[in-house]
């Protein structure tokens, strides 16, 4: 327990101390929110879809979570390059506990990001339809954060250096974000896109946020939570497995 705690607190300290990283990771969602939210607002409203900012905010929250969670998971590559990973790997602690501590730390940071973006979007004009549901939305944020931190850990276990990181970002994370319905409604999509979206785990996170924050649901909250939980479980298991196989 203490070992999990110390790994967790380390991730938090690193996050809080690195101001530039914190600002950088908030700037991007903010940019999307402002440019898309105000830029497409008219078109969206004229199409009879209601407020685009309201529609967009849950998607942008999902975006900030997926990016920071995967980044936190993949910080292992960084730790490997800077040697610190070895210090944890020779310690008499099971790889499972290291994985849990790191994942919880990363997921906490990603959830915090999600909450901050939620607050920022409220300043930008977003209004959740029922404040009593916000805590549940935060629970889903935790779930999505754990899912993608574990995913990042899993992927990072295969990679030796930062080149791989760019590849993963461009060919996995970006498509997952853009295909998730974070920026557009699922209704009325061409069948090909709709099918891809269905296989994108982030779609279910976005859908759950929309259900809880603006009362618009596509898959249904039950399905969302079920899919998210199952995939989280799979990523966690695979992540622990591959992490336990790391040799230096």
């Amino acid at each position: 327990m203490k070992t999990i705690y110390i790994l967790w607190i380390r991730q938090l300290k690193r996050y809080v101390r690195s101001k530039s990283r914190m600002i950088g990771s908030l700037a991007q969602p903010l940019l999307f929110l402002v440019s898309l939210g105000y830029g497409f607002g008219h078109v969206f409203e004229q199409a009879g879809q209601g407020s685009y900012i309201n529609f967009l905010a849950p998607g942008i929250i999902a975006m900030s979570i997926i990016f920071s969670a995967i980044f936190m998971g993949m910080e292992i590559i960084w730790d490997r390059q800077f040697g610190f990973l070895k210090e944890t790997l020779v310690a008499p602690v099971s790889r499972m506990n290291i994985m849990i501590g790191r994942t919880l730390g990363g997921a906490t940071v990603a959830t915090m990001q999600g909450i901050i973006v939620f607050l920022i979007s409220m300043i930008a004009g977003f209004t959740p339809y029922n404040c009593a549901l916000v805590p549940f939305a935060i629970l889903v944020m935790v779930l999505v954060s754990v899912m993608f931190t574990a995913f990042g850990t899993m992927v990072a276990s295969f990679l030796d250096d930062m080149h791989g990181f760019q590849m993963i970002m461009n060919f996995l994370v970006m498509p997952m974000f853009f295909m998730s319905g974070a920026l557009f409604p699922f209704e009325g999509l061409p069948p090909a896109i709709a099918t891809i979206a269905k296989f994108d785990p982030l779609s279910y996170g976005v859908d759950a946020f929309r259900t809880l924050l603006i009362n618009q649901s596509h898959f249904g909250l039950g399905i969302d939570v079920l899919v998210l939980s199952v995939i989280t479980f799979i990523f966690l298991s695979l992540g622990s497995y591959f992490f336990s196989k790391i040799q230096i």
């Binding site: 110390i6 690193r14 310690a91 008499p92 040799q247």
Partner: protein, 267 residues
Amino acid sequence: MQNIIEVKNLTKKFKDLTAVDNISFDIKKGEIFGFLGPNGAGKSTTIKMLTTLLNPTSGEISLNGHNPVYEANEVRHSFGIVFQDPSLDDELTAYENMEFHGVLYGIPKKLRRQKIEELLNFVELWDRRDSFVKQYSGGMKRRLEIARGLMHSPKILFLDEPTLGLDPQTRNHMWKYLRDHNKSEGITVFFTTHYMEEAERNAQRIAIIDHGKIVATGTSEELKKQTNKNSLEDAFLELTGNTIREEEGSSLDKIRTMRRRWTGGRK
């Protein structure tokens, strides 16, 4: 005296490269043992197998009576290590790095605090305990790593090229701590180096490794006698030949070179 490390027919292959080739050696409890060899000889790979970071391709290892492959936890409690490359968290303070280590090794809080103070004083970093490690010089980082490696009172301390890039003053200082600690605590020290004089001055026994094979073992005197040379350097060249070793371009080596270029730190 009993052997604290026993290695028998140890081999490690990376695809078609045999980095460590059927080596055997024993180290006695309380001994300071020097593992001397040119770049790419297989020193770090041997240490990684002894310290549970790599699984051997074949061969037997017994460390403090335990097998690193099957009894990793017992083995991990038995040793402390200073890696060839830095392994501190730069974003944490020296104290936090020590605290992190102490918690991972399950040292109870009171003892932990006491140990941290004692060891940071020992390596003369107590006054700088709250500085971030990224503000430390190469020598200070090394000292901190030594303090950290000693914190859980290991029976064996591994040092992989511990003085690489340090100035002679710091090097001297560091070895003074280590010899003191060896005397007072009876800790076994296993270090690698490619500096002859470091091996000669500090090691009670030396093994020379080249191309993954141990080519000679003995005290510095014995090695000189065996090769009929006056200095360990000549003995070493006699045993390992004169060809210059290019460090193989494994990705880790590249990272190492890159790091050095960026940080200009420890060479």
